[in-house]
Symmetry: C2
DNA sequence: CGTTTACTTTACAACGTTGGAAAGACTCGG
DNA sequence: CCGAGTCTTTCCAACGTTGTAAAGTAAACG
């Protein structure tokens, strides 16, 4: 079928090892031989078989990325950033979708498919802290997110508590006092929802504001429809509010949608802030004030960390650094849905 | 490092071929031997090395998907659907981003990386019909989109002209007469922009409406910002209009944003229709009437076609079907931004 | 009880590549 | 013109797996 080293060697009239040497820039090759080989390569259109190279060298030049679902914009943008960062290092990315299902997540971790890659960047959503032992896999692994922590692993994440607190404080500083939340997970302590809710409560406490359970909207899926439904629940409670903190942007966008249906104006009656700084936050109507949690930095750092770990593993380096938790810097991106200086106070139905 | 067939064979006290036979469900194995081997596999946690298997068998169990950019929602959702469809067949997907850059697209086609996969699903954006010869690659290839056509290849696409015509006719049927377009590409005939613009013109012609160049907003990148900019250009022309056809959803959403800034109400003053039926179209404010071009069907069909082609290639089947162009069915999804029965007529700027 | 037949296991080679080290060729000094 | 040193090329084996075919074993038959 395909052209192999043997074919090139035959055409060039040398041994296959010489061809291999040319390809791998072995220094001691006579110029004449080299050009002869290069000409044969050109003529035959030879391309190295990366599968064979991978088998022989033990390095695949590929990593795996497991995320819940590419139809969730956060993960789509994360995946895009990971692929771009890997590409810059000449590495390709195999993408798996887990759907956030714990069983599927565990299955991916154990899957023999990973023998085709050098390591995994794993963004779990369904598994729990008690599943941490399942993370002790025989290949380099970098964790993302805040679902599971394990001191044995490199972990790249964001400052959820601080960032959520900053978002809430931003609303408070703008004059809001009754701040609803959408996207909470019942009883969750660890995880994006738990941490961000904690940050929210810390901000309230620090400002001497009371936490009102009626202002918390719950939803498991962080889809726009979930945000809409949680917002409706809060409205149904009848407690007045003048701001909404969407625990992520899609939730906030879904919530904005419901507010508008309910006749509440954003930001006139209700300020809305999100979390993630998705592309679409910039172009929603009104544009969404949000937290940029450092997604690109996370992608880049995750790839760099994984590649360093892979290199260390091949060198069997004893001086490899300890696994670490690296946290991205965040910043508030002010847009229309929550101006720094808000005005009116609404009394919602 | 990893456990190999040799290790299992040693522990089980059999030859490696017997272990291989057990794994591959070879029928003639004594039950006692089989269980002995299975126990050793279990005990050692053996996992087959897919790289070696792939080298030996010539089948990688992986396909490549090349799309412009995952931060474009259409391609993110497409990629998600492709991965899901492949997963159902036990195939993994390696995702490449071309950025829509012609040079990069050609590079991906020729890249030795593809030797790690069994075939490619390619969604070009930058290359042109004249680049078609570059598509004659030595591995199975399925084309998506409408940038390049080639009778030598399987191609899965959508009914751009008909669907765009239907979208325009939908606006006309709702009572609109001055329909702007955003997202056109200067001089393009072949390609999403060209085809959809053609459908738009066909609808105008059929309805006896005049085509007004001042109502066409151009933008190369089909980002939201491009839609916004194109909409501003149209507004700047000063020609009145009562509807906007965004050549895709993100363009339409960007345009809606600008309309609102300009004080025009959607759909009261201006109806807006998009194209793609992205998740977010359902939750924008107002929700976006759009065309569902059959994205999931396209993903599923592309994967099935590619896998069939791969199988045919390995069997060296002479009875393989001719390459074909398969087109998805489309439908109009009516939402708020363009109701079937529109009312007022606006006179823009 | 020898022989055919069917079942079960194994030896070997090969997929395409590269590391290690030996073999060959050339250059230079004496 | 020889030996030492350097440059250049080749040979061999191995990465982990599976196809082919042969070898070995047990059951069945006459």
């Amino acid at each position: 079928m395909a052209v192999t080293l043997h074919d090139v060697a035959r055409v060039a009239g040398v041994s296959i090892k010489t061809v291999s040497n040319v390809i791998n820039d072995y220094p001691h090759i006579r110029p004449a031989t080299k050009s002869k080989v290069e000409q044969a390569i050109e003529e035959l259109g030879y391309q190295p078989n990366l599968t064979a190279r991978s088998l022989r060298s033990g390095r695949a030049g590929a990593i795996a990325l497991a995320v819940p679902d590419l139809s969730l914009p956060y993960f789509a943008e994360l995946a895009g950033a990971v692929i771009a960062a890997a590409e810059a290092a000449g590495i390709v990315v195999l993408v798996e979708q887990t759907g956030g299902d714990p069983a599927r997540e565990l299955e991916v971790l154990r899957s023999p498919r990973l023998t085709m890659t050098d390591g995994l960047i794993f963004s779990p959503l369904g598994i729990e802290q008690s599943d941490a032992p399942a993370l002790r896999v025989p290949y380099p692994l970098v964790l993302l997110g805040e679902r599971v922590f394990d001191p044995e692993h490199d972990h790249v994440s964001m400052r959820n508590v601080e960032a959520a607190r900053a978002a809430t404080e931003f609303l408070i500083a703008s004059g809001r006092r009754r701040i609803a939340v959408v996207g909470a997970h019942e009883g969750e302590v660890i995880g994006s929802a738990g941490f961000r809710l904690q940050g929210y409560r810390e901000a309230l406490d620090a400002a001497g504001l009371e936490f009102d359970p009626d202002l918390v909207g719950y939803t498991a899926p962080w889809h726009r429809s979930g945000g809409a439904q949680a917002m409706r629940d809060v409205l149904a409670h009848g407690a007045p509010f003048d701001a909404v903190f969407g625990l992520n942007d899609t939730l906030a966008l879904g919530a904005m949608r419901v507010l508008q249906e309910a006749g509440l104006r954003v930001p006139h009656d209700v300020s809305v802030i999100g979390f993630d700084d998705l592309d679409e936050a910039e172009y929603s109507i009104p544009s969404l004030t949000t937290v940029d949690p450092g997604r690109r930095w996370i992608a880049r750092t995750a790839v760099e960390t994984l590649l360093a770990r892979i290199t260390a593993a091949t060198l069997d380096a004893a001086d490899a650094p300890q696994p670490a938790l690296q946290l991205a810097e965040f910043r508030i991106v002010e847009r229309e849905s929550a101006p720094a200086a808000a005005s009116a106070i609404a009394t919602a139905v």
